[in-house]
């Protein structure tokens, strides 16, 4: 199941925002010298000031409100604005050309390749339309040199579009590939640990148990031997739990929300608990997703198995920089002294620690239920 295709959405708009700023600044910087070279009239003076103002304001706004960087409406408005400057200048050979081209950077790097090219083609046609509106002197264009420069002017936006779309597409694929190999490495490591646990440590414990049990058999038995045997049996049981955990594959492809929903369904099928899963976190680094999944799963299992809850809720909140995972139930709370056996609290804490995250576990007995809240940063792992 793949509810989210990473290529279809901007993985990280800010990666290309720098390029946008540079081209927009360059576009603004060439305006004054070009206008001055062409003997400034007063309307052109006003137009130049307007262009510089627009370049600065648009850059500032997009830097402040980052969601606008990936909004189709904003891209269209931006294109229309810069083409408006061209029309207002009144000639297709315009000093605002580079400024106009800069409007292509964000859409072509954010959209999937085909739609990016479609956007670029639309822009080119709009530029042609703007040129027609202001009036192309076709007699003049029909001379070879003029024709070449007119053609080039229309070709440049397409070239820019194709290059940027291709580069962005490649980067996204690289990113996906990196996440996949990260997941594979994680999987391989788990297999190795499982193998070591089973093949070596567990066999040694069995041997120790056997040897000790022979001592107790030979009537040398003391309370300590009995206790040691008990400990060894508990140790193999612990290892079996870890092995089961390790052998279960990391959820592949599915998002964290989807994986938790599936687990909730399994729990609901086996009990009378009602579990709601709200929200999702589609693009998480594999390690974060795996740890958060285990924490959520453990908390839900506790709610059902130990706290006798009748309702539970999972809330996922994903901002791109932080992941918040909240599990709430109406059960009896956790048993006393519950750093306790069987509830997996210490393993939840270790997982949170591994993520550099904060984990709050609040248990109010007498039907007040339990709240488990994970607040994990994504900054170091989600960016490249």
């Amino acid at each position: 199941m793949r509810p989210d295709v990473p290529g279809a959405r901007p993985a990280d708009p800010s990666r290309w925002f720098g390029l946008f700023l540079i081209t927009r600044a360059a576009g603004a910087a060439v305006v004054p010298p070009l206008l001055i070279l062409q003997d400034l009239t007063s309307t052109e003076y006003l137009l130049g000031a307007l262009a510089l103002g627009y370049a600065g304001a648009s850059a500032l706004l997009l830097a402040r409100v980052r969601v606008l960087q990936t909004s189709l409406a904003v891209w269209v408005v931006d294109c229309l604005a810069v083409l408006g400057l061209v029309v207002a200048y009144g000639e297709w050979r315009t000093p605002f050309y580079v400024l106009a081209i800069s409007a292509l950077v964000l859409p072509t790097t954010s959209l999937p390749p085909r739609r990016a090219v479609a956007f670029g083609a639309g822009f080119t046609l709009a530029y042609l339309a703007a040129a027609v509106i202001v009036g192309v002197d076709w007699e003049e264009v029909s001379t070879t040199a003029r024709m070449q420069s007119f053609g080039a002017m229309l070709l440049v936006p397409m070239i820019v579009t194709v290059l940027l779309a291709f580069a962005a597409h490649l980067l996204r694929r690289l990113e996906r590939e990196r996440q996949r190999s990260e997941r594979l490495a994680l999987e391989a490591e788990r297999q190795r640990i499982a193998w070591e646990l089973h093949d070596s440590a567990k066999q040694r414990i069995h041997a120790a148990h056997l040897l000790l049990s022979a001592v107790s058999d030979a009537n040398l038995a003391s309370r300590s031997v009995e206790l040691a045997l008990e400990e060894l049996r508990a140790a193999t049981a612990d290892m079996d739990t870890s092995l089961r955990d390790l052998r279960e594959p990391l959820f592949e492809g599915a998002s964290l929300g989807e994986a938790l929903r599936q687990w909730a369904q399994r729990l609901q099928a086996a009990s009378d608990v009602r579990i709601d899963v709200v929200g999702d976190a589609p693009t998480l680094p594999a390690f974060t997703a795996a740890q958060a999944y285990r924490i959520g799963r453990e908390a839900l299992t506790n709610a059902v198995r130990h706290a006798g809850a009748s309702e539970a809720e999972v809330v996922l909140d994903f901002t791109g920089e932080r992941l918040n995972l909240l599990i709430r139930d109406d059960g009896t709370g956790l048993p006393d002294g519950a750093a306790g056996a069987g509830t997996g609290l210490s393993s939840m804490r270790h997982r949170a620690e591994a993520l550099g995250a904060e984990l709050d576990i609040v248990s109010r007995g007498d039907g007040g239920g339990t709240i488990v809240a994970l607040d994990a940063p994504l900054a170091e792992t989600s960016r490249t």
Binding site: L197, H198, K202, Q203, R204, A207, L210, L229, L246
Partner: protein, 191 residues
């Protein structure tokens, strides 16, 4: 005196078993080996009464080896020894002709009892529950299910071959196919 051949791929288990058995008057660990490579010549050299056979071995697993040991004339008794002994392993072990299945977490007295065997050397694997048996049957195809029935009754191989109207070696290879399918899933990397 019961002579025991120990086959286990982990030295801690081999050493532990050897030690525990050597302190028990009626049980003698005659040799230890770690895999199939040791098995056949140790069998020939020591002629044990019973083989304590680890299930998870490198190369051929304990069930397959058990089937081959039990095909020998004058075969010793075979106890399958596993960290994951459960009902599905017991069924597979019965099919492979094992005389007993023992979990590795069993205390020494249970090990001794398994090695000594019951009166008359009757195999001591409890009859499986009906659900476990049908779960095992689901792993097989239609042609193999009658074979499972016969093998659970411990029908000798020549009789199985007769009933199927097959030559002996053909029947044996069918049995190996059934054992292969009943093989218990083990933790990653342990197979």
């Amino acid at each position: 005196m019961i002579r025991v051949l120990i086959i286990d791929d982990h030295h801690a288990m081999r050493r532990g078993l050897e030690n525990v058995l050597s302190e028990t008057p009626d049980l003698v660990p005659v040799a230890t080996g770690s895999a199939e490579g040791d098995l056949w010549h140790l069998l020939k050299r020591t002629a044990p009464d019973v083989v304590l056979l680890d299930y998870h071995l490198p190369g051929q697993d304990g069930l397959m080896l058990c089937h081959r040991i039990k095909s020998l004339t004058l075969a010793p008794r075979v106890i399958i020894y596993s960290a994951y002994a459960d009902e599905s392993l017991e069924i597979a072990a019965t099919v492979a002709g094992a005389d007993g299945v023992l979990n590795k977490n069993a205390p020494a007295n249970e090990l001794f009892a398994a090695l000594r065997g019951g009166p008359g050397d009757e195999p001591a694997i409890p009859a499986p529950r009906a659900e476990a048996l049908s779960a095992a049957a689901r792993k097989l195809d239609d042609g193999e299910r009658p074979l499972l029935g016969m093998l659970m009754q411990r029908t000798p191989l020549p009789d199985v071959a007769d009933a199927l109207g097959l030559p002996l070696d053909e029947a044996a290879s069918r049995v190996r196919g059934v054992i292969g399918r009943l093989r218990v899933r083990v933790p990653a990397g342990a197979e």
